[in-house]
């Protein structure tokens, strides 16, 4: 097979000579024209009638796609898939999306510009441009100006190109052969390269693995993992019985916790006096802890918990009106049915004050005429 030609190159002595030669060579219409010069020359783009690069359009399209993708991603995540109110803002708050929208737009745009320039427009991977192995390259990077007729689709007519270039005033005409397979990335080369990289990784990994086994001079950083500590539900080597801590001394009382003398509801007596201050404290405690389930009137009509299908006790019913204070107290401390314990949430005083307030609610729901006596002015 005949060797294909990449380009026919002619050298000119000045930029002006190059610019003057271009129209004539262009009119020859043998192939794609390319100029190689030591520095940028005004008017060269216009003379070569270079087409506007499509990169700008690609970048614009991808930038807006990036912006749209960012908007859709954030909108879907924060308003559809997992809506959480943060800082009192609506789930779909466009203001919060703008920075990421901007960043993703820039990211898409730069990747498109960079990769598009390298791979689509500059036809990488392309190891060695034929020009770099030409005789003319030294002159071109120094003080001469080259015009090349490059083969586009059809084969280049070398003789016609020679005649055309020398007719236009070019000297030192050189024919650049099409680079062989070695200089253009082909499939077997890519496969061999990938195989080589994989093999190198495998060898290096195995060697390293063996080296660490043989010479354990550099243990991994495991000090936090190895330190003496207690693990939950694991025996400890610190004490002989395997416990991580000693048992408290019998009779130890936790801070802020008074043990009940008795668990008999009838024997538990409300220690607080029934004064205005205590009733107000009780109302506060009731509103904070009890009201959402037992209702503002104590009638067990919940304000918030209907969704849980629980049936809070009707505290003003006859059953509870006759129940001893201790029954309320134990329910607060231990919890009852669906009701959790409030021992940690309500202090001793708050519990008893709330019970006083519940009694006031019971009385208010079942007032007698005689209750009003004495209150009239």
């Amino acid at each position: 097979m005949r060797e294909r030609t990449f380009a026919v190159l002619g050298l000119f002595d000045s930029a002006d000579a190059l610019l003057k030669a271009i129209p004539a060579v262009k009119a020859g219409g043998l192939g794609r024209l390319e100029a190689y010069t030591p520095y940028p020359i005004h008017g060269l783009d216009e003379a070569l009638e270079l087409k506007r690069s499509p990169l700008a359009g690609m970048v614009v399209v991808m930038a807006f796609l990036g912006a749209l993708a960012a908007l859709a991603m954030q909108g879907w995540m924060s308003a559809v898939d997992y809506p959480i109110i943060t800082g009192g803002k609506a789930p779909f708050s466009w203001q919060a999306f703008v920075p990421i929208l901007f960043e993703l737009m820039v990211l898409f745009a730069t990747f498109t510009a960079g990769l598009g320039m390298l791979f689509l427009l500059n036809r990488l991977p392309f190891f060695g441009h034929p020009l770099l192995s030409s005789r003319a390259i030294q002159a071109i990077t120094r003080d001469r100006f080259a015009l090349a007729i490059e083969a586009d689709k059809a084969d280049l007519d070398v003789e016609a190109a020679r005649v055309l270039l020398s007719g236009a005033g070019a000297r030192d005409i050189e024919v650049l052969p099409m680079p062989g397979a070695r200089e253009i990335l082909d499939a077997p080369f890519i496969l061999r390269s990938l195989g080589g990289i994989a093999l190198a990784c495998l060898v290096a990994g195995t060697l390293l693995h063996q080296a660490i086994k043989l010479f354990p001079v550099l243990p991994p950083m495991s000090h936090m993992q190895e330190q003496p500590r207690l693990n939950a539900y694991q025996p400890s080597a610190f004490f002989r019985d395997g416990h991580g801590m000693r048992q408290p001394v019998p009779g130890t009382v936790a801070r802020g916790y008074l043990p009940l003398g008795t668990r008999d509801p009838d024997a538990l007596v409300n220690p607080l006096p029934r004064t205005q201050a205590v009733l107000l404290q009780g109302r506060e405690a009731y509103r904070v802890r009890c009201l959402v389930c037992h209702g503002a009137l104590g009638d067990g009509v919940p304000t918030l918990t209907a969704a849980y299908q629980a049936k809070p006790a009707n505290l003003v019913s006859p059953e509870f009106r006759t129940a001893p204070d201790g029954r309320f107290y134990l329910a607060i401390v231990d919890g009852k049915n669906a009701m959790p314990t409030y021992a940690a949430d309500m202090s001793e005083d708050e519990r008893w004050a709330a019970i006083h307030y519940v009694r006031a609610l019971q009385r208010a729901q079942n007032a007698k005429d005689s209750d009003l006596e004495g209150s009239r002015p």
Partner: protein
């Protein structure tokens, strides 16, 4: 006196009569708000032009030498604006809460009362004008003198002075933003506010420059200024529309996120009722339309497109300032005969001044040794 001059004088005098009637009829507050709005609008335009001149000297730009005379002429607006600004000081005790006697009763304002009070306020305004007029004298007067003398020492002097002029400009425009606009609501503060005004001011100066270049070219003056020079002006405009949007949104987003009562009340006023459409229209005119209209490479050097974008930019900058200034005292946007009179008076006056300085010096700085290099500029 030409017909056009007569018409401009007529419009200006009608406007003057209108604003005097407005003072008597609609009250001092609205009068002074209008005054401050127009003062800051024209001042930012003149300072933007001065910035363009100082920038060229500072970075030794060559491409802009052929068009430098245009921003030089525009920056002379600072001379009549000195009078406007000094008259505007009468507004300080009327519409600026920090300068009113009851400020001392407010614990927050009492701490700022010295700084915002009339004496200190006036001192800052006077110092600013002294600095700007000094910059005008060195950069513009020197450049005009060079037309005849062809003295290259001016370029050295201007380049040495340019950093100082930049400092005058930077501190000055920040003080304008804080004093004349932000101090209308002294409880509110934003560090970036001066930068926002700078972005608008540069765009205003740039747009006026573009309009004047195209106007002169339409009269076969400045024939050597080519598409490549226009491209740079268009590129600047494009970049600074994005910059303005970036700064304005950054300030809004931080305050929206934090939702602090002492910051957010300012936006609360401006994003509800009639003021919401104003800022939406401003955003479209100030950012969206110019951004897309100037996105492509050809658009940035197309004279027709640059002309209408410059007009849109000036309108958007005015709307932006309107939205910044007026809501301080007006719960709803107002635009009626008093505003129209102000527009007639200030626009007419500004155009009269620009027509006066249109013949100032040659159209290009012919004495500048770098003019040839500037004319040869290609992208």
């Amino acid at each position: 006196m030409s017909v056009r001059n007569k018409r401009l004088w007529g419009a200006t005098l009608v406007g003057l009569a209108g604003i005097l009637i407005a003072y008597a009829k609609v009250g001092a507050e609205r009068f002074w708000l209008n005054w401050v709005l127009w003062f800051v609008f024209l001042l930012s335009l003149a300072l933007g032009a001065l910035f363009l001149v100082a920038l060229e000297h500072l970075v030794a730009a060559r491409w802009s030498v052929p068009i430098r005379r245009i921003p030089e002429r525009l920056s002379t607006l600072l001379i009549p604006l000195t009078v406007i600004g000094l008259i505007g000081l009468a507004a300080v005790p009327v519409i600026y809460p920090g300068a009113r006697p009851e400020a001392l009763a407010d614990k927050l304002l009492a701490g700022k009362a010295f700084w915002l009070g009339l004496p200190c306020f006036s001192l800052r305004v006077v110092l600013c004008f002294v600095a700007w007029l000094a910059a005008l004298a060195v950069l513009v007067k020197g450049s005009l003198a060079q037309d005849r003398s062809h003295d290259p020492r001016f370029n050295i002097r201007a380049r040495r002075f340019a950093p100082l002029a930049m400092a005058f400009f930077g501190f000055g425009i920040t003080l304008v933003a804080f004093d004349w606009i932000s101090a209308l609501e002294p409880a509110w503060y934003s560090d970036i506010f001066g930068v926002q005004l700078f972005a608008g001011a540069f765009l205003a100066g740039l747009s006026a420059t573009v309009l004047m270049v195209l106007h002169l070219q339409g009269r076969d003056r400045l024939p050597e200024v080519g598409r490549d020079h226009l491209y740079n002006l268009g590129g600047f405009t494009f970049a600074f529309t994005v910059f303005w949007a970036y700064i304005a949104f950054a300030q809004y987003m931080l305050m929206w996120y934090a939702d602090l009562p002492e910051e957010v009340f300012w936006y609360e006023k401006r994003l509800h009722g009639g003021w919401l459409p104003v800022i939406l229209v401003t955003g479209v005119l100030h950012f969206l339309i110019p951004f897309f209209a100037l996105l492509s490479r050809d658009a940035k050097k197309h004279p027709g497109r640059l002309r209408w974008i410059a007009i849109v930019m000036l309108l958007a900058h005015f709307l932006d300032l309107y939205w910044l200034v007026f809501p301080a005292l007006m719960p709803q946007p107002v635009f009626s005969w008093p505003e129209l009179s102000f527009a007639l008076f200030f626009l007419g006056g500004a155009l009269l001044w620009i027509r006066r300085v249109r013949g100032l010096g040659e159209d290009m700085p012919v004495g500048d040794a770098f003019l040839k290099q500037g004319l040869e500029f290609r992208l």
